[in-house]
Symmetry: C2
Subunit: 300 residues, 2 copies
DNA sequence: GCAGGGCCACAACCTTCAGTTATGCAAGTC
DNA sequence: GACTTGCATAACTGAAGGTTGTGGCCCTGC
C-alpha cells in the first residue's frame, strides 16, 4: 500500500468526500478519483462503496482506519522532528512551560537572563504536560517546566524547588489571624470549590482527597488551568486548590491564600531530553528559575 | 519526508551500505544514491557522512532511527493486514495454537471436524502467544488456542477447559503409589529441573514459586517450549513443570507425571477478534477441542 | 607499488505515473 | 425543470524515478 494511498484514504475519511480529500491534499478531484481506484485495485477489495454518487466506507475500510491513522500520526511526528532537527542550534534557549508558570515565573526568568546574555534569542511556549513531552521529544523545544509528575517518558526530570498546595479564596474569606495557619483539609467539607480538569495529575490527586470528605465539597465548575480557577475565585465563585505560583499571582491581592495542611508537596520540575546535554545558557536559565521560584515561594 | 526516503534510510541502516540498500529495494545503486541525496537535501541535514567512500550514519540519523523503524514495522503490519483482508473468507477455519497444543489436541480436533464437514479446508499454524495475538489482529488466522493468559490485547478470550500444572519426571522416578498423590511444591527443593523460558507467562509464575524454595531447584537448562522440556525429561535430564497436555504426550509412556499441588489452574483459552463473530464451523471446532481436551485431561 | 575489487557519485537517457483541464453523468434540492 | 454537488472518464503534460555506463576513491593482497 503506497503512502499516497494511505494519505488519500485518510483524507477521504476525514473530509467525507473525494472532492474534499482532493482539496485537502492539494490535488485535483480527478487525480484523487484515479488514485483511489488504483488503491482499491491493488488491495483487491473496495474501500468505499459508491452509493447515490457518494463514497461510503466499507466494512474493511473501517478495520483499516485505526492503523492508518496511527501511521499518519507517526509520519506527522517524524515530519515535525526532522523539521526541527534541520534548524538545530538556531536558538540557544527554547522553553515550554505550563500556563501557571507562564504567568510570571518564566517571563521574569527570561528577562533576567537577557540582562546577563543580552544578545540571546529565546523561544517560549506554554503547553500542557502531555503536549510538552511530545514537543520535547520532537526537538521543538529543549526545556520544559511543569508542576506535573510526568513519569515514564524517556526524558530527564530535575526538581527545581518544592512548594505547598495552596487554598485560595475570595477576599475577606478568612480573618487575618487565620491566614497564618495551614488549613486542615477537613475544613473544605461542604465548601463551594472550583475543580481542576481530570487530566491534571496534581488536580486529580487532590480530587481524590476531597472526595473522601463528608459532606464532599461542591464543585459545580471545573476548569482546565489553575489560572482560570484563580480568576473564578477572585470573582467569588468559591475556593480552589492551586499550586503556590498561581496562588501568588498579582502579588496575592485579588485572592486570599492559605497553605493546605497536606503531606504532599508541589514540585517544580525541569524536563529535557537525556541525549542532548544542556548548554551554558540553558543551565543558567534553570538556575535563575530556581532562584526566582524559591524567592517567590518565600513570600507570604 | 517521502515514504521512499524512509524505506531507503532504513535499508541503508540495515544493510550498512548504499549498494546493499539498493539491492534490498530492487533498484540500481545510482538510483539509491540519487534518492539519498534528494532526501538529505529536502531534510536540510546529512543523514550519512561519506567517510573513506563509505556511509556512516550521522548523529541526527541515529535520532530518527527508532521512529523510522517503528513506521516501517507498522507499514509492514498494514501490508499483512490488507493482504489477508483481500482473501477474506477463502478458508472457513484458520487456527493457530501453541506448540504444546499442536502435539495432538489440535490435529485430533481437526481430524474429527473433517469427518463432520468433509469438504472443509483448514489452515493450521503454531505460534507463541505474542505472535499469535499479532496474527489474529492482522486477520492471518481466526482462532488462537493457548494456555497463556494473554491479557490486554483487544481480543475475545474464552476459557475452554481447566487442568492442573503437572510435574513430569524420567521413568521410575516415583513409586506407583506416589503417582496417585499430588506432589507438594516443597518436594522440588534442590531437584534438577528443566526451566521454561522467561517469556512464558505460566512458566514465569511457576519460576517465582520455585525461587522461594530452599534450596532452590537447579535449572541448568532452560527451554522455550514445553515439548522440549518433555523430551529432555524423557532423557533423564531432570524434572519439569509443564501443562497437562504436554505431560500426557505419547500416552504418558516416556515420562512419569504427577499433578503439582498448587492453587493455580492451567486454562486452555480460545482467543479471537471481537468484531468478527465465529461461523458455524469455527464454533463446532471449538466444541470439539473442548470435548477432546476434557476427555484427555480425565485420563491418568 | 601495482592490480583488482568494492563502494559511491555523476551523466545521459528513458519510462512511468501522478498531475492537469475539460467533460459527462447521476442524484439530490429548490 | 434548472441548479448544485459529487464522482468518473479522457487526453495530455511534466517531473520523478528508473536505467546503463563511467569515473574516482580507498582498501587489500600479491
Amino acid at each position: 500500500m503506497r503512502l499516497r494511498y494511505i494519505e488519500l484514504f485518510h483524507a477521504v475519511l476525514t473530509t467525507g468526500s473525494l472532492t474534499g480529500a482532493a482539496n485537502l491534499l492539494n490535488i485535483s478531484q480527478p487525480a484523487a478519483s484515479k488514485a483511489l481506484q488504483q488503491a482499491e485495485q491493488q488491495l483487491g477489495f473496495a474501500l468505499f462503496s459508491r452509493v447515490r454518487g457518494r463514497l461510503l466506507p466499507t466494512e474493511q475500510a473501517l478495520l483499516l482506519r485505526q492503523r492508518i491513522e496511527k501511521i499518519i500520526q507517526e509520519l506527522n511526528e517524524l515530519q515535525r522532528l526532522t523539521a526541527n532537527m534541520s534548524l538545530t542550534d538556531s536558538c540557544p534557549l527554547r522553553v515550554t512551560c505550563t500556563p501557571a508558570l507562564a504567568q510570571s515565573l518564566v517571563p521574569d526568568a527570561v528577562t533576567l537572563l537577557r540582562k546577563i546574555f543580552p544578545g540571546t534569542s529565546v523561544e517560549l511556549f506554554t503547553q500542557h504536560s502531555a503536549v510538552m513531552c511530545e514537543s520535547l521529544l520532537l526537538h521543538e523545544t529543549d526545556i520544559g517546566l511543569t508542576l506535573q509528575d510526568t513519569g515514564r517518558q524517556n526524558l530527564c526530570r530535575e526538581p527545581l524547588c518544592r512548594g505547598q498546595v495552596m487554598v485560595i479564596a475570595p477576599p475577606d474569606w478568612w480573618s487575618v489571624a487565620e491566614l497564618k495557619r495551614p488549613l486542615p483539609i477537613t475544613a473544605l467539607a461542604g465548601q463551594p470549590m472550583i475543580g481542576i480538569a481530570v487530566q491534571d495529575a496534581l488536580g486529580n490527586m487532590l480530587q481524590s482527597h476531597l472526595a473522601q470528605l463528608s459532606p464532599a465539597p461542591r464543585t459545580p465548575v471545573r476548569v482546565q488551568t489553575y489560572q482560570l480557577a484563580h480568576s473564578l475565585v477572585a470573582q467569588g465563585e468559591g475556593l480552589a486548590l492551586v499550586d503556590p505560583f498561581t496562588a501568588r499571582r498579582d502579588g496575592g491581592k485579588a485572592v486570599q491564600m492559605r497553605p493546605l495542611d497536606l503531606r504532599m508537596d508541589v514540585v517544580l520540575y525541569a524536563i529535557y531530553r537525556p541525549d542532548s546535554p544542556l548548554n551554558a545558557v540553558q543551565k543558567r536559565f534553570l538556575g535563575l528559575v530556581r532562584q526566582l521560584a524559591q524567592r517567590l515561594l518565600a513570600t507570604v
